[in-house]
Amino acid sequence: MIQFTLNGQAVQTDVDPDTPLLWVVRDHFKLKGSKFGCGAGLCGACTMHVDGAALKTCVTPIAAMANKSITTIEGLGTPDALHPLQAAWHEHAVPQCGYCQSGQIMAAAALLDANPNPSSDEIDAAMAGNICRCGCYPRIKRAIQSVSENALAYDAMAQTEGRA
């Protein structure tokens, strides 16, 4: 039995310990926001936060997650309580097909948590692990910058939501 925290709730699972975290979250806990894109850690569609850091979960065995704190896109914000990045994604009309966007946003949120005012090159470096086939990169970058340029507001909201 492997125990961990999923979006703030203590959970446990007895699946095969080799099962990647992505599939445990999707198929066993039925949270479908995190996506399967490549199964090889190459595209980032499956990105979640593990103890606050962005991780590609399609190649991360659940056995390695014991006692970790995992946040998925569902835990970041909801349509009624958007994370600042999610609001920026709407404002800048970032998503096209939308399939990769959960992973993009999780990668961006981890970046801003670690570096609230990243340079253009730092955004490129942090986001290079996430593929978008629709070509939303220019808008993803603009949306991240719109939040980071407003770093004070971002910090304030993060503290209100207990994510600081």
Partner: protein
């Protein structure tokens, strides 16, 4: 249920004028003898005036979007059209993805399909009329209920306004549903547009930013099992022997069975199915394709072009005489490889068959195909197949091919379980269907005044249409037996090899310039690879050949690249204007040292686009810094979505231009995932500026036209940077 009697004749006229006459099968409810019930939600006390709209008692305005949302923004575009005339803000509507029904037919296609950058063009008047007529019924009902003349009423975002009082549309639905409209309501003049042409946000952005948008792969039904298919490395090979003992012993595995396309492994979770699939040992039959490699393709195409005995396409004037009298002639050969679409969401479908009924959940570009295909496999009536459309995690043409549905239905039928079939990324990259490879030769002549006088273009490669036709035939003609389907498909293949060019094979290769003498020849060379539409279809490769050739010709004739294009597009005024505007921008660009500008322009899907690529070449690596995209797509219904489609087309096209290429070895695709079939990433993505020329005409396509010019624009810039003419895709410095 009342139906808005939008006149069928009017639609037919509209479609026949603008849709190339492709109106076969277009019908509204009430026109066929036994209209099928609309696949819409029941609404307690609500009103369903037509297949597209519902007004609920709480004044929720629900819109059923009939075209597949694969990222191109069509849900926003279509809800803007209907909302403009209904007078409801599209962002305030509840958006539903429509099921399969004849009322949802695409007027440009004659079937329920999304592609060819057609949706906004096809529905521009249609959905506005649906909105206008529905609003007219509400106003008439309000007039009766309030006992005031209709002329004293106006509307404001879902509310009827009378003097100082405001009444939600829902107040009048009891009366509205007793009314019929006699004549189509007048449409607004463009000067009164509130939503069309405005910078509104996307209706699907919040769902997609919060992980709550449902894609096919997110569907979960009780008792669902997961299937992965072990596929033949060489396309279409059948299993000769299967050893599944090790797979069956794996945890969670419930079934291993042979289906039409391979060996299906069914398990309680996807991960278990995927792990077990790797343990299946299959001996595949040997097919002629097994002796084919990438080099074989190019060699065979080249031999076909040398032999010259292809099918003649469009011919105009006297090409031989024109070539002889030209003051400058130039000839070159261009190569474009096999490509995978690789949408981020791998192909998948959920099929549940219970008794003589079936439910199907997937995101697909051709819902028309679903009932027919699934009913055939499940051996149940097509009207008993319920199709549930989801968001498409990328389409790009790939989700026009429904073979995964057939696979899921076969497995569900055989196992008696609800099945979610998922293709792995390796399945996706290796098994296609693919964008065909092409070898193109163009010889052209220019006179002393710089006029293009002769254009002799030929292309060798596989055809797209017969293969796609083969997949859709059983759905479109349910009465055909399997052997008849096979026979008709083979006949269509033979037809394109022998009699007429498949338009998709040569489109874009010859149409844009004014040359009075043209010859187009096509050599179908078929290695039995599965092929289908890929974003921009034939234009995805033809524009590279055509616009590289134009650049080479301008240089050979000693002319400026933009001036040469302007002089030779006089007969295409909209393309000419786009070239002029882009050319003026290019002339004023400040270019850093070591950076070079390449130019290309192309007409596709009724839209004209010119692109300027700012490129540098450092240590043999091509770097694209900035792309300026100038287009005329008529009325931009949502300018921001037009821009995003151009950005997306450029980046999708750049991935192909810089990296894209599948290679065959012993008939099998060598590449398998994003490590060896790489995609452009953020750190390589250029700055993109989009300039929309607002010509105010009826909207034309935007999903695809941004793609074709980018590869030649980059190649033409690379020539300036290095002196190398790169005539093979992907572009690689020698």
């Amino acid at each position: 249920m009342n139906t808005v009697n939008v006149s069928r004749r009017r639609f037919l006229q509209t479609s026949a004028i603008t849709g190339g006459g492709l109106v076969v099968g277009f019908a509204m409810t009430g026109c066929s003898s036994t209209p099928a019930p609309l696949p819409v939600a029941s609404t307690e006390g609500g009103w369903t005036p037509n297949a597209f709209l519902q007004v609920l008692p709480d004044n929720t305005i629900r819109f059923y979007t009939a075209r597949s949302e694969m990222g191109q923004g069509v849900t926003t575009g279509l809800s803007t059209l209907v909302g403009e005339e209904l007078d409801v803000n599209p962002l305030d509507m509840e958006i539903r993805l429509a099921g399969a029904h004849e009322d949802y037919v695409n007027p440009d296609f004659g079937m329920q399909g999304t592609g060819g950058s057609s949706s906004i063009h096809a529905h521009y008047l249609h959905l506005r009329q649906v909105g206008a007529n529905t609003r007219a019924l509400i106003l008439e009902a309000a007039s009766q209920d309030l006992g005031v003349p209709a002329s004293s009423l106006s509307t404001d975002n879902g509310v009827v306004v009378h003097g100082g009082s405001r009444h939600p549309y829902a107040d009048f639905i009891a009366t509205a549903q007793t009314l019929n409209i006699e004549a189509d309501a007048a449409l607004k003049p463009a000067s009164e547009f509130q939503y069309i042409g405005q910078e509104t946000r996307r209706v699907d952005a919040i769902a997609k930013a919060t992980g709550t948008a449902q894609f096919g792969i997110d569907v979960d039904v009780p008792g669902m099992h997961y299937a992965v298919v072990v596929r033949a490395p060489v396309a279409r090979a059948k299993a000769e022997s299967v050893d599944a003992e090790n797979a069956k012993a794996m945890p969670g595995v419930t079934d291993v069975l042979e289906i039409g396309t391979g060996v299906a492994v069914v398990a309680e979770s996807f991960w278990q199915a995927k792990q077990a699939a790797a343990k299946v040992d299959v001996q595949w039959e040997s097919l002629p394709l097994a002796s084919v490699s990438t080099e074989t393709l190019r060699r065979d195409y080249s031999a076909a072009l040398d032999a010259g005995d292809g099918v003649e396409g469009p011919v105009e004037g006297d090409i031989d005489a024109a070539m002889q009298s030209a003051s400058t002639t130039h000839e070159a050969e261009y190569w474009a490889p096999l490509l995978s679409h690789s949408p981020m969401e791998p192909m998948n479908a959920v099929v549940r068959i219970e008794g003589d009924e079936a439910d199907v959940w997937t995101g697909i570009q051709f819902p028309s195909a679903v009932p027919g295909l699934v009913s055939r496999v499940a051996d149940i009536p097509a009207e008993n197949v319920r199709f549930h459309q989801t968001y498409l995690g990328g389409g790009f043409g790939r989700r026009g091919t429904p073979s995964h549905l057939v696979e899921a239905a076969e497995i569900a039928k055989a196992t008696g379980k609800p099945i979610q079939l998922v293709w792995t990324r390796e399945d996706d990259v290796r098994h296609g269907p693919f964008r065909p490879a092409s070898l193109m030769r163009i010889k052209a002549g220019v006179d002393e005044a710089g006029n293009l006088t002769a254009w002799d273009a030929s292309r060798a490669g596989g055809d797209i249409s017969p293969d796609t036709f083969r997949g859709l035939l059983p759905a479109l003609y349910p009465w055909m037996g399997d052997s008849m389907v096979e026979g008709v498909a083979n006949l269509s293949e033979w037809y394109f090899e022998t009699f007429a060019t498949d338009e998709s094979s040569t489109e874009g290769l010859f149409e844009d310039y004014d040359q009075p003498n043209t010859r187009v020849t096509h050599m179908t060379v078929d290695h039995e690879l599965p092929l289908t539409f890929w974003r921009a279809v034939g234009h995805s490769y033809s524009a590279f050949a055509k616009e590289s050739m134009i650049d080479e010709l301008a240089q050979a004739a000693g002319m400026d690249e933009v001036a040469f294009r302007l002089q030779n597009t006089q007969n295409s005024p909209r393309l000419n204007n786009v070239i002029r505007v882009a050319g003026e921008r290019m002339a004023n660009m400040e270019v850093p040292a070591g950076h070079h500008l390449g130019f290309a322009a192309h007409h596709s899907f009724r839209t004209d686009v010119a692109e300027i690529a700012e490129v540098s070449v450092e240590n043999g690596k091509i770097r694209v810094h900035k792309v300026t995209c100038v287009l005329d797509c008529g009325q931009a219904v949502n300018p921001d979505i037009v821009r995003s489609q151009m950005e997306g087309g450029v980046i999708y096209g750049l991935t192909a231009a810089l990296y894209g290429g599948l290679n065959l070895e012993n008939g099998a695709i060598k590449e398998s995932n994003f490590h060896d079939y790489p995609m452009l990433r953020m750190d390589e993505s250029p700055e993109i500026e989009v300039v929309i020329i607002d010509s105010g005409t009826k909207p034309t396509g935007v999903g695809e036209p941004g793609l074709p010019p980018i590869a030649p624009a980059v190649a033409n810039a690379v020539y300036k940077a290095t002196g190398q003419r790169l005539r093979s895709l992907p572009l690689q410095i020698a």
